[in-house]
């Protein structure tokens, strides 16, 4: 899904540049991130992180950002992972009650 062009290009670029600074990676990686965010949207980018071709190192860092966002209550985890977390909590809770 290509996001509407009226969403400012510079905001996507800013987001990816900040990630580039955070990860200390080259500009080609930053550009790749920028393209992926623009084509998918910010939330869907993190939800579909596994579907992009990032190196293991970059993926790990993007996943770390996703964990922070998830911790802050953002819906950035794929359904599968969210269900997994819920199941783990529910089973722990159930076990404690017994």
């Amino acid at each position: 899904m290509l996001q509407d062009k009226t969403i400012k290009q510079k905001d996507y670029e800013r987001a990816s540049q900040l990630l580039g600074r955070l990860f200390e990676v080259d500009s080609d990686i930053t550009e790749q991130i920028s393209r992926c965010i623009q084509y998918n949207g910010a939330e869907a980018f993190f939800k579909n992180l596994e579907s992009f071709y990032f190196s293991a190192d970059v993926f790990e860092k993007l996943d770390a950002v996703r964990l922070v966002l998830f911790g802050m209550g953002e819906e950035v985890m794929p359904e599968l992972l969210t269900d997994e977390i819920r199941t783990q909590i529910d089973s722990t809770e159930g076990g404690a009650e017994q």
Partner: protein, 261 residues
């Protein structure tokens, strides 16, 4: 059950932050045991990070603000600032991460409170920015807006409006009132918090005496208490205006000449 979910969120947050900044999990867990974990982003010095870790937290904060802004833009593809809360959060997303300079912005809105355009109108040093009313006036007329929300950040962290913040608001309210353009709020952003003058009932009424196009320096140093601000809270009442003494711009033609104030 809720506690378990909270723990899962906190655990994710800690894992992610550790991977990104190198701050140890045990340090974060120790802090989280007795405090609100998210203070770490808002007031990173409380966990005594080294210089590099502190820089990473600042960049992460900026990214989170940008992420929220993008999400907001993508959601409806237009942003409606229909309450001080939405306006506050919107400007926190734009100004929240800025620690090294004072930045003055304005959102120009249509009759449905949709943003026509948001512009940065001044960028200054850490404690001061100079605002030019003429520049704001020109931007407002260019986009044919119906109302304006002003915003700037206080890099020093204070949420209280300064004397200059009050002055510029009063000046701009007074400049725009005869043009039927309302200055509906002035948001002050400090860290990831905001202060809304409208929410506090502190948007001044227009006063012909306040009309001046001189540049106004903003500073977060000289703070005024709310009780001494002297704002006339309330809505605009045209009867309160001495309209004859105000300067009216022509709607059509010879616009360039009208800028010679």
């Amino acid at each position: 059950m809720k506690k378990k979910y909270d723990e899962a969120y906190a655990s994710s947050f800690i894992k992610g932050l550790t991977r990104l900044t190198g701050i140890s999990e045990s340090k974060l867990k120790k802090y989280a045991a007795e405090n609100n974990l998210f203070n770490v982003l808002e007031h990173p010095n409380i966990i005594e990070p080294n210089k590099q870790q502190l820089e990473k937290i600042h960049v992460l904060n900026e990214f989170i603000s940008t992420y929220k802004l993008l999400k907001l833009q993508e959601k409806e593809n237009k942003i409606v600032l229909n309450s001080s809360t939405v306006a506050g959060e919107y400007f926190v997303s734009l100004l929240g991460g800025i620690k090294d300079k004072e930045k003055f912005m304005a959102a120009f809105l249509d009759s449905g409170n949709n943003i026509i355009e948001t512009r940065t109108l001044s960028e200054g040093s850490i404690g001061e920015a100079v605002v030019y009313p003429r520049m704001i006036l020109k931007a407002a007329l260019d986009c044919d807006c119906k109302s304006i929300i002003l915003a700037h950040n206080h890099p020093g962290g204070s949420l209280n409006p300064s004397i200059q913040d009050r002055d510029i608001t009063e000046k701009l309210v007074s400049i725009f009132a005869p043009l039927q353009i309302s200055v509906i709020d002035h948001i002050i952003v400090a860290n990831i918090n905001y202060y809304s003058m409208a929410e506090k009932g502190n948007i001044p009424l227009p006063s012909p005496k306040s009309i001046s196009y001189d540049a106004v320096p903003l500073s977060d140093g000289k703070i005024v208490g709310e009780e001494t601000m002297g704002f006339n809270a309330g809505t605009l009442d045209k009867d309160d205006l001495d309209m004859d003494s105000m300067y009216f711009f022509e709607q059509d033609g010879e616009e360039e000449e009208e800028w010679q104030i």
